[in-house]
Symmetry: D2
């Protein structure tokens, strides 16, 4: 998963994009990058690590201009190892920089085509570099008679025809303006903000509304699936539907876990969705657990609080914060000749004994991925004196990989893959385990925005919207994950900082 | 305020102390330092910034040995500018490294004495360097016939006689062992942990129990006021009361705000104390606010959650998290010729509209210091649609500076100094404002540990336990705060990171 | 001026190119860069500063592959500000990285053409980026039917037709091999080396033979003017003349000052050329100065030693080293509120009193550019007790800017521009001043390699070989030098280190 | 060996000391440090590496004050591994910072005494830290009735009585002034400079006169052996002889190789001494080599030039520079899985074929230590076509270790230890080898300053002036050199830069 932002401003945008990326930092903490332009030249700074670690004063000084884009990045499964930080740049035609949130499922075939037909070299194994070159190729064709808005929109249409997978895009064409678009399924979010300032109207495109609002912009609307937005250098705004049959199928995992609760995606305030999921989860718990069998309801901070609060309210049981989260996390240094202490969940979470002692505790988490964290949490609750530990997941069982831009482990690592709820309960050590139902999860969202049809809920139900994700594809994908990186098992990795090693910033290829 | 830790282990302590400091990071984010010894030589690494920023692999490799101490530091008002990171070192007698939590109120006079009588040069304006030299001087006297445990304890007695103020100390005497002690009022916390490992018993001294427990040590007990602990190089443990008339007067602000909720200080689980303060606060609210006049109770994340939850429970009103905290905070870069955008509370907190819209909201915070943050929060609640905003503080009005190691603004900056509750309510814009009563706050703590007599609650009631804090002293103190640094107005500064500038680490004097 | 190197090896080339760049470091100390390839992807690392400062272990680890190029760079007058470090990269067609030594005199027009006709965006004001895009464009045309050697050579022919100015080039086409070529006048040097190792023949292209030989390669020959060399990924070597009417007109300033004395350029050992220039200079001195009027001959270390030794020998006068050069040079820090001490030649050179006291001294320098250094040197000689100071320049008066890749000051800054020798003598304070004659300088070189016809000696005689350098061009050039950087006034700047500021490496745009 | 400097100025001294250290950089390239004071507090910055690498703008800004000292350091054999950078600091009595050039031969015994008698902890194995504590102890005793000049000088007398070995010292006593002194044998150099500026007289003490003169100060005189100099904070100058029977026995190796040729040590211009050694060497060569058997005389740049020039002149043979020195040296990176190319003398020196081809060459070096470099040089001469290679050393055979502060290899590593000249000639591969005679070397110096009696010439004749260096001492010394560091085998290591590894600066203990 990634967070992206683009802006056409009336004043320098370096600090502005930096601040925006901080508001999207929860969407990606592996790398960060900013590209700006003064209309003619591009300036770029990117590197591994969190926003606060990648940019220093000297970097910011090298980012002049009133137009720019930025990205924060998580590693995305379903694609290559993708060690490149974004944005990417191509110089022909016109000079284009681009940042991408999502994942292309047909990038290998496209890379091949790009080289064979267009003699375009793709230097990395990043699907985003492929995407940029497809865009460049289409624009080269569509703009033979000049670089116009129509040429741009025609190019995006061409891009839609060739790409499969998910993509929300911000890009800048040198000397022309900001182009943003969203895939025809609208899997990854993208929204539009405006600010009417003293020097005129400024426009901002971002992954989540919280970035717009946090920067003082007004939320205008979401980008429609398949739609392209163009904001000229001068700040003129244009929108055009570039897909043939766009359908909105947004990723429901955004609402479950990924997005910030204070964002609003495709008409759904994330916080409200999580509350509503709590309602449905409470209904199911009522059907399953004996009344009076629960003394207290507890969230795992921070992400499951809304659902847990609502469960508590619906059950009429006390809501208590029994776990305290340690936010300061450091590194494990490799010392010659010293054994490495294993870091456990216990260094990140601590149980308040007074809340557990002698009680039947219902722990609510947002989801269960590998199950290892849940197992440790259940054990902590027992160690703190809990009589009985009931575990509830605000999301249904995660049984399938995500190929649309969320880094999930392989099927065999997903605790719920091929197991019944009871088997999972046994593995995590809970006395009882209640999962949300898939349909309830979707209903929870539709209760808030009835206009929504279906979702990308593939990691729960194995249905891949783009139609090209076969079992063979998944097998190949999993085999390519030789050295799998940690999946976003809860927000445990939240404040991690850069554990990658000393001084690793800036070592990226400068291509 | 600071966090300190000392350990006599059977294996290398560099990573161990690093991890301990992370568990105490909430106590100080300005600087961090570690000193270790292999029995003969000391090794030290310290610098400005958070733990994760100060130590790199090469630094850790330069910290060999099985014994060591560490510190994280906040700027302490009431003392000098104190730009020095700790630990400090003196080489005569014996070689001593030391880290200090607290603040001496008579350090200037002592510095003078040290030089006049003992010809000891104090290189900085840090009271901690003075303290170390007083210890060194006393030890020089007491150990004329040899460096023994008795000589150590005699030295600590001498220290107690000369120092005024607060101090919890960990130190190492080269080739001898770990010495820790706490001032005769026990103002700042200090506790003892042990670990019975395969190679024998290891001992740990730390500011808070959470550091012991997080590292797998068992909490043994608090260090008594005036008591000194000595752990020899071999791991033998000794304790001795070195003060004439010790009385436990712990800082109550630790329980209100500073300490981690999962710590237990002087027999009081912090979390429980905050819950209980919530109970008393609820009682007062009941007396003040009309029943039915509150639709929802909300904490300011993260520190006021326990009190708020308890208030909600006692009032029988819904507890909701209406504010979301953004944990990723960066810097404001100074760009030549660009205006600097002011960062506001809004970049750190966001209000969930659904929780405010049309409601009478009771916002519970742990305390109110300057009032500026409270003011912004009230406004945010109103902007989010709140019909009525009632504000409650789990602590009484903060009216006086703290001279015992907490960086507080001057009296004139404290919103409650010289103002009635109604005046403060008007300033922060709340419809109503309910403060905890001083006696209720103390009762809340004594309900949990009836053995506790009085507290240092000087910032609330202006009573300074050490007897030497006169109005003239306070005047002088406030005048010396020429360029006052940000006070810990709530935990707003929590995850700030190092805003001090580029590459500032390591520039400290190497004395 | 710059130094470039390219190699097709049988083993990793990162350290190899690094070491080669050190051997060429005298050709450029402003920036350094390396690009390598494993056949498919390119890896690049570049930054401001000297080789030793730009590359660290982590950078070197990010440069895998058996094929690569490198560059060290001086700022080149006659071109734009050129703040970009090399190599440069374009991804279409095929993926090309390139490094350039020289300067294009028609780059602005080409940049325009590139965009108008080919829609290629040039992101910087570097003529080298323009050059790479011209090459890319020509290759795109010539390789429509496939990427073959012929297509490559055709592309180089096209490049020759379009470019004006000087250029020696090394580049790599991804998955294909190493391409190197030299402009049809052969202004800048380029030579070929081979190494027959256990795994086959390896090829190396470099600016100077010293780089080949220092790396254990055998010097094969110089690249002919207009010629292109292609070494396939597998190490097959091909050469082709791509220019219509190539004529060798090498830059004579390389022999006078720029190249290392232990290099051999176009059949001329540099050291020998400098000795021979000493011979001619001695002849002229004999005609000018009274016999017996010179007690001692002295060089300015290091570059004028060969000429001075030869002058001494021919005059039958003692050769002595009266000046000692301080090789350790640091920075001048800007301290708030402190005045900056001006650094003078005296911190770099020191006069041995014993060699000057009461003597008539003949000081031989390689050339005189601005005259300010010469002036200080003459004064130092007088201060050290010299009775009479005669100054001789092994090169003729520098009267015109160099537009082919050497950073020279504007005409008005050249002390000999528009002045007689006597006037210059007066300005630098010498009792007498003897300049080499232009024809003697050329004869000196032709004595060694009679096959050489003419030279680029434009800075001495104002004749610009490429025919497009008009007075108007020079005017424009000089006007664009708003903030002129220090010219290579002798090798005074030799060991300068990176004065640019703290931590400036890595801040370059990553395009 | 080390270089030291101290200054009492009327303006900030940070840049001043930095520049001075650059002028002394040839005396030590392993570490550098500066301590300054504003009269009350000390500020210090030190680290591993060369001056240009240790100090950055932020460091310089942390060095306020008008008084300060600095040091550059080589590793000193004869002492411990000494990984600590200087200056050192003790806070009792008064606060003292100190930098030391030399080596104590009885530091281990003193360290013991210091702890036993004075309970002073010495944290490192640096003899300099011991020395500082002896000074501190003596000052503590002598100043019981107050810190006066007399007390200072009495303390230095005490120091002289206790120390054995060599020491030139600069130190600052906080709030008092600058103290400098030289051991009673005057083994290491130290001299005095003054500057009469607009704000009064400023004083400077430095290892070599070149540092004084390069900074615009006037050389006043050398510090006498045993003498102490005190300059008060206000700039008042005092001198006092503190030794009982001082005799000047300066290290003759300074004149042979270590000192800069443009320095003047104890009345001997170094350059003149080297010329004169050339004269005596020429005499010996005349007695040994057939006339006409030498075609050309060549130095090894840079240090043997004066001797070689003089040899050439006396023999009436051409002086030529046949070797070119590459000044840009980098690092060898350790790449996983890659073999490391051995760096040889050939990457630092290159032979000009034209000067060697078919000639009988006399190569003059300043000295021969291990012989490995000489061997490579002889081979290079032969490879370049020399018919015959005669080697001459301007110094006598180096047969014994230096225990007075020069890092020499053990006896077994010294090629001349226990070998005849013929055997050494055979080992280095020379056709003939002529060494300077010990008496001629001394005469050469006395010819210039007849006032000089004897020298420390221990590495040539094995006579150790301090009387305490027994064979047993040398045995012990050599055994302690487990991992011997590179000796200053010529100036091959001259411009090395910091090969120690990435980012190593600043990792030193901050004690």
């Amino acid at each position: 998963m990634c967070g992206i932002v683009g802006v056409v401003s009336k004043s320098p945008v370096n600090q502005f994009i930096y601040d925006s990326l901080l508001l999207l930092q929860h969407r990606g903490q592996d790398a960060a990058g900013i590209a700006t332009t003064n209309g003619k030249s591009f300036y770029m700074q990117k590197g591994n690590g969190m926003v606060r670690d990648v940019f220093r004063t000297r970097n910011m000084r090298s980012l002049p201009g009133h137009i720019g884009i930025g990205q924060v990045r998580y590693p995305t499964a379903g694609s290559s190892s993708s060690e490149e930080a974004q944005p990417f740049y191509v110089n022909a035609p016109y000079g284009i920089v681009m940042a991408h949130n999502g994942n292309l499922t047909n990038w290998e075939q496209l890379k091949d085509e790009m080289f064979r037909i267009d003699r375009r070299h793709i230097n990395t194994t990043s699907d985003s570099e492929v995407l940029l070159n497809v865009l460049a190729h289409e624009l080269q064709s569509s703009s033979r008679d000049g670089l116009t808005r129509d040429a741009l929109f025609t190019a995006v249409s061409g891009v839609h025809r060739r790409l499969k997978g998910s993509y929300a895009i911000v890009s800048v064409i040198a000397g022309f303006g900001l182009l943003a678009f969203r895939d025809p399924n609208g899997i990854r979010p993208l929204c539009i903000g405006r600010f009417d300032g003293p020097s005129g109207t400024e426009w901002m495109i971002a992954s989540e509304s919280v970035a717009l609002e946090g920067m003082g912009f007004t939320f205008v609307r979401d980008v429609a699936p398949g739609e392209a937005i163009f904001v000229s250098n001068d700040g003129e705004f244009f929108a055009h539907q570039c897909a043939d049959a766009p359908v909105l199928n947004p990723c429901i995992f955004e609402l479950v876990y990924l997005a910030r609760p204070d964002s609003c995606l495709d008409g759904v305030p994330v916080y409200d969705a999580r509350l509503r999921m709590g309602d449905y989860l409470a209904e199911k718990i009522k059907r399953t657990v004996k009344p009076g069998d629960i003394d207290v309801v507890m969230p795992i901070p921070d992400s499951s609080r809304p659902a847990a609060m609502q469960v508590a309210k619906q059950l009429g049981v006390n809501y208590r914060e029994g776990f305290f989260k340690n936010r300061y996390v450091g590194r494990t240094f490799i010392m010659p000749g010293q054994a490495v202490r294993k870091k456990s969940v216990r260094q990140k979470l601590n149980a308040m004994r007074v809340e557990f002692q002698g009680k039947n505790v219902l722990i609510v988490d947002d989801s269960i991925v590998r199950g290892t964290t849940s197992q440790e949490i259940v054990q902590m609750a027992r160690d703190a004196g809990a009589k009985k530990v009931i575990f509830a997941s605000a999301a249904p069982p995660v049984k399938f990989p995500n190929v649309y831009g969320i880094d999930m482990p392989t099927r065999s690592e997903l605790v719920a893959h091929g197991r019944t709820d009871e088997e999972v309960a046994r593995i995590i050590g809970a006395d009882e385990l209640i999962y949300q139902d898939v349909e309830d999860m979707k209903k929870a969202v539709r209760d808030i925005n009835p206009a929504l049809g279906d979702f990308d809920s593939s990691c729960f139900d194995g249905k891949y919207i783009t139609g090209d994700v076969t079992p063979a594809y998944l097998d190949r994908l999993e085999q390519s994950r030789k050295a799998p990186k940690a999946a976003p098992e809860r927000d445990a990795g939240g404040d991690e900082g850069n554990d990658a090693g000393d001084d690793d910033r800036g070592s990226q290829l400068g291509l």
